[in-house]
């Protein structure tokens, strides 16, 4: 049975690290703020040169904000995991009664805290400086964020498992994952723009449903509950698959000695 205290320990550790190191704290605010400012001005410019009636703020800036939120969620999980990679802490942490579910639960909880802080900063900037109104999306904003959050968690767990399997140096494969997925997710354009093979991949990515739905709402076309349910179901299935993958890789690392070896070696 999953216990709360060991899970909370993972979150507390991240809090200690952030409190003790501004370089960890800054990225939570800085990158999202830079993104919002950059895209805020781009949307302002586009609005000034385009025909009236096109809502660039809700369409473009909203998309940037939601994509950044998803990226922060994913990186919230992976960064908490990397703390154990960077401090070569695998042996100390896994030679304890800590269950894998408690460890992964701790990474997810950490991500919830850090991504919510990032989201608050983005919302504050986007609404106060650039006039983004989330009322444009209505109540659907909540399930939109939920889908993105769940997919970010799934991808974060999957990426952590990948590093556990391939070794500390593969950390550098993790950072570009959101950028690699963004063309398929249709963040800035309708999915119909994509060739068929890309659309097939997009269908497996819950964010593609969110951004398509968001554009539909901004254009006044609405959004079907069935599509939303499909996106949510897909995200939940991907979380379950990612947890299974992590657990499978962990067992492999214990069987082959990878886990013990990573404690002794630096990033290589």
């Amino acid at each position: 049975m999953m216990r709360l205290r060991p899970t909370a320990a993972i979150v507390l550790r991240q809090f200690y690290l952030m409190r003790g190191s501004p370089t960890r704290l800054l990225p939570m605010f800085a990158w999202v703020a830079i993104d919002i400012v950059l895209w805020g001005f781009i949307t302002r410019y586009l609005s000034s040169v385009s025909a009236p009636g096109i809502n660039f703020v809700a369409g473009l800036l909203g998309a940037v904000l939601l994509w950044d939120f998803f990226t922060r969620v994913m990186q919230g999980v992976t960064t908490a995991f990397f703390e154990d990679v960077w401090s070569r802490n695998f042996l100390n942490i896994f030679a304890t009664p800590l269950l894998i579910s408690e460890y992964v639960g701790g990474l997810v909880l950490t991500s919830i805290v850090t991504s919510v802080i990032g989201l608050a900063v983005m919302l504050l900037l986007a609404t106060t400086v650039f006039g983004l109104s989330f009322f444009a999306y209505g109540i659907l904003l909540v399930p939109f964020l939920l889908v993105l959050f769940l997919f970010g968690i799934a991808l974060g767990i999957f990426a952590s498992a990948m590093v556990l399997r391939l070794g500390p140096a593969s950390e550098w494969l993790v950072w570009p994952i959101p950028a690699l997925l963004s063309p398929f997710a249709g963040v800035f354009y309708p999915l119909s723009t994509l060739p068929l093979w890309m659309r097939a991949i997009a269908a497996l990515l819950p964010p593609s449903y969110v951004f398509e739905g968001m554009r539909g709402i901004v254009a006044g076309n609405g959004f079907s509950v069935a599509t939303l349910a499909a996106a949510l179901t897909l995200a939940v299935i991907e979380i379950v698959a990612a947890c299974w993958f992590f657990s499978h890789v962990f067992r492999f690392a214990v069987r082959t000695g990878l886990l013990a070896r990573y404690s002794a070696e630096s990033v290589s």
Binding site: R5, R13, L17, S21, N89, F94, A95, T96, P97, R251
Partner: protein, 259 residues
């Protein structure tokens, strides 16, 4: 025989290792090793570099799966009930320092929560005092000397009042005076706390002083076991170091193993 190892009365086994075998491809790292560690007993796991000591410890800690064989800690099979088996187990190893970016107090709190230690604040204060770490409590572990870091690791290893304690070269980076104090503390933990301790060291003087029993591991095989005094008598060696050198240089044949 030292004062420390005259008063112990080993009772039930806290650790039972049976026919433990670990193979990496063609390389046999640990070959059919069996031994027990009893409550209140300090057992030295000795052997030259590459003998399989750390591999054995990693398997006991559940971070490396044996190819075959069983490890039972306080009645719990590590493979089947890993979390329960490790609940009252802890370790300190010279190659596993605590995260250097957390302070001494933060590390102890973090691991204390993971081990589910009750009255954690009081326990941390007691350990800070026991290992003379109060003045370092708010200092990051990464800036401490290796000796100070070892003491923090030992404090962490005592957090959950372990019934089985695995110490991999615990005094390797300590000066003689601190090492002496630490040995005395660990002896107390075995004698008064009733913990079974598995101790690896290349310092044969230390092993002779501290351990009730020693196990000689050479190229994955357990060649000798017994009390230091009995082994010295049986093999006509004056010191454990002399015996160690002799055993480590034996060509590993079946005859040598059975001898």
């Amino acid at each position: 025989m030292t004062e420390a190892n005259t008063h112990r009365s080993p009772t039930q086994a806290v650790l039972r290792v049976n026919a433990l075998h670990k193979q990496f491809g063609d390389i046999v790292a640990v070959d059919s090793v069996s031994f027990d560690v009893h409550a209140g007993e300090i057992v030295g796991l000795l052997g030259p570099n590459g003998a399989g000591k750390t591999t054995t410890i990693n398997m006991i800690l559940g971070v490396l799966e044996p190819s075959t064989g069983t490890i039972v800690i306080e009645g719990h099979d590590v493979r089947k009930a890993r979390s329960r088996a490790l609940d009252r187990t802890n370790f300190a190893a010279v190659y596993a320092p605590l995260p250097g970016n957390l302070t001494v107090y933060q590390n102890l709190r973090f691991f204390g929560m993971i081990y589910g230690v009750r009255s954690l604040s009081e326990r941390i204060e007691a350990l800070l005092e026991q290992f003379d770490l109060q003045r370092f409590r708010d200092r990051k572990c990464g800036v401490l000397s290796s000796g100070e870091q070892t003491r923090v690791c030992l404090a962490k290893a005592m957090l959950n009042r372990p019934q089985l304690l695995l110490l991999d070269e615990p005094t390797a980076s300590l000066d003689p005076a601190v090492a002496h104090d630490i040995r005395a503390k660990i002896r107390d933990i075995a004698v008064q706390g009733g913990a079974g301790i598995l101790w690896t060291s290349h310092n044969m003087y230390e092993v002779e002083e501290v351990c009730d029993r020693v196990l000689f591991l050479v190229r994955g095989r357990l060649l000798l076991q017994g009390s230091p005094q009995a082994l010295l008598r049986e093999h006509g060696a004056k010191t454990l170091e002399e015996l160690f050198v002799r055993i480590a240089r034996i060509p590993l044949t079946d005859a040598a193993v059975s001898a």
